[in-house]
């Protein structure tokens, strides 16, 4: 696998390798020089057709800590706003010698086209495409869960994860559902009936309309933002009713088990899906998710670009025998 397009493409071995590598990358944050030479001379292009703060900054920090050269491209103020197609943008990047393209696009499937249309030879990493997938977010969520819930080294097997809110428009929910199942966790999607995607029955996850009955059993609760910018219809009567039925507040938080963590991929709307006291509570790992995001993206970049060929998705076990020195 040369690209990272979907969390569903990762085998359990791949995912565990990424998480283990991210663990080593995480230790770098405590060192005086937060830099590794692994991607020296490689060029990573951040190609963002949609607004993003943390994902773009996170990928930029990750690539720079691995010593790659980073070119940031955002559609606003570029030739895309003059009508350039994805194909021509891709050809331009190819001509510039990009080794990897980190792409965020409002259209579901855009990274897939970029990777498979033959426009460029770059490695493509999906940084969120429409309402489809956001695999590195799922990886950083799994990494964060592993650090809190699998301290015995056991992994996420049998852990119950509740993903709550606007599942319909959430690429985070889809990628998490795919990855967490690969890692052996049990996922429950909690959402109003109008915000569950068509065909969710084929995802292999539980669904529920009743948040209060799911919370006491959960080991991690992931709140999703209501993506009003993607809504061209009314999916619930009012913000107040939504937050009363599907928002996480102090009363609901009190029904959680002692070890249960509260997560949010950001950006969060305080007062809508999560109240401020919950977001700032001890259970909340929302800020840590951001820190872990850099480590996980470093791991992905390293494993895809660090060697002569990618280390994830390979058919054979990689060579780790060393030349004795």
């Amino acid at each position: 696998m040369k690209h990272l397009l979907s969390a569903g493409d990762l085998t359990r071995d791949d995912a565990e390798l990424i998480l283990a590598t991210a663990g080593e990358m995480r230790a770098l944050a405590d060192r005086p020089i937060k830099k590794l030479p692994a991607l020296r001379g490689r060029t990573v292009v951040n190609l963002f057709f949609e607004d993003s703060t943390r994902t773009r900054m996170s990928f930029e920090a990750a690539a720079k800590r691995l010593s790659a050269d980073v070119i940031n491209f955002s559609a606003k103020g570029s030739s895309v706003s003059k009508g350039e197609s994805l194909k021509d943008t891709a050809l331009t990047l190819e001509a510039m010698g990009a080794d990897a393209v980190v792409v965020r696009h409002w259209a579901s499937g855009a990274p897939h086209s970029l990777a498979n249309a033959g426009w460029s030879r770059s490695t493509v990493i999906n940084a969120g495409d429409g309402t489809h997938e956001h695999p590195t977010q799922a990886l950083l969520d799994a990494f964060t869960m592993t650090r809190h819930l699998a301290s015995d080294g056991g992994g996420l097997d049998g852990r119950r994860i509740a993903i709550v809110g606007d599942v319909l428009h959430s690429r985070v929910a889809r990628s998490n559902a795919l990855l967490l199942q690969t890692l052996g966790a049990e996922v429950t999607l909690v959402s109003p009936p109008t915000l569950l995607p068509y065909g969710v029955g084929t995802w292999g996850v539980e669904t529920s309309y009743d948040l209060d009955s799911v919370l006491p059993k959960a080991d991690a609760v992931m709140m999703l933002r209501v993506q009003r910018e993607r809504m061209n219809d009314s999916y619930f009567p009012s913000v107040r009713e939504y937050s009363r039925r599907y928002g996480l507040n102090a009363r609901r938080m009190a029904t959680l088990q002692d070890h249960t963590i509260v997560m949010h991929p950001g950006p969060m709307i305080r007062g809508m899906e999560i109240t401020a006291d919950v977001a700032d509570s001890d259970r909340s790992v929302i800020v840590e998710q951001v820190t872990n995001g850099v480590a996980v993206r470093m791991a992905v970049l390293y494993l895809l670009l660090g060697g002569s060929e990618p280390a994830i998705g390979a058919d054979e076990t990689p060579t780790t025998e060393e030349t004795p020195a």
Binding site: L19, I33, Y302, A311, T317, T320
Partner: protein, 189 residues
């Protein structure tokens, strides 16, 4: 790809070659190295032992245990992964990272003793020196190895050697340690 630290040098080799060091030889060599380190350093002050994963870390721990017996002082032990600093990183698929653990006191102004199982081309040690450069500035760096098999590609030599083992480049040296492989031996074939 396996997520765990995949077996480094020579685990694929059965221990059926010619045994050049058995468990007792290895124990004696490590005891001597420990004494030499103390003698050279005039005690255990400022010492930090950094093992190169995987077997170097176990050797470093054994040396630290011996120093503790002799001096009654716990010398800090850490591990230093050199994977990302290898000069052949680009020539092979991306490798699994191994743990780097720097002792709490850091390495600034310390006497760092790098510990590895086999010294061969010297390239691992060059990578280790580069890796250390990003972590701190030791007062001095020494090198301890269980086996020096010769054939250096780089101007690097060991300060403390368990056994000098003349080899041809066609031969393979396999170090096996109790903690990692279930037995102590050095074989050649």
């Amino acid at each position: 790809m396996t997520p765990t630290a995949a077996p480094p040098p020579g685990t694929d080799l059965p221990a059926d070659g010619r045994t050049v060091l058995d468990a007792r030889d290895i124990a004696r060599a490590l005891t001597r190295i420990s004494h030499e380190i103390l003698e050279r350093n005039k005690g255990s002050h400022d010492l930090v032992l950094l093992g190169i994963p995987s077997r170097g870390v176990h050797l470093a721990q054994r040396i630290a245990a011996r120093i503790a017996e002799v001096e009654g002082v716990e010398v800090p032990v850490g591990s230093l992964d050199i994977t990302m600093y290898r000069d052949d990183l680009r020539m092979r698929p991306a490798r699994t990272l191994l743990p780097t653990e720097i002792p709490a006191g850091g390495i600034d102004d310390k006497i760092v003793v790098l510990v590895d199982d086999v010294l061969y081309s010297g390239r691992t040690i060059r990578s280790a020196l580069d890796a250390m450069n990003d972590i701190g500035r030791p007062q001095a760096v020494r090198l301890a190895v269980l086996v020096d098999r010769g054939h250096r590609d780089l101007p690097i030599r060991a300060d403390f050697v368990g056994k000098n083992l003349p080899t041809s480049q066609a031969e393979k040296v396999a170090v096996r340690l109790e903690e990692y492989d279930g037995e102590d031996s050095v074989t050649i074939r």
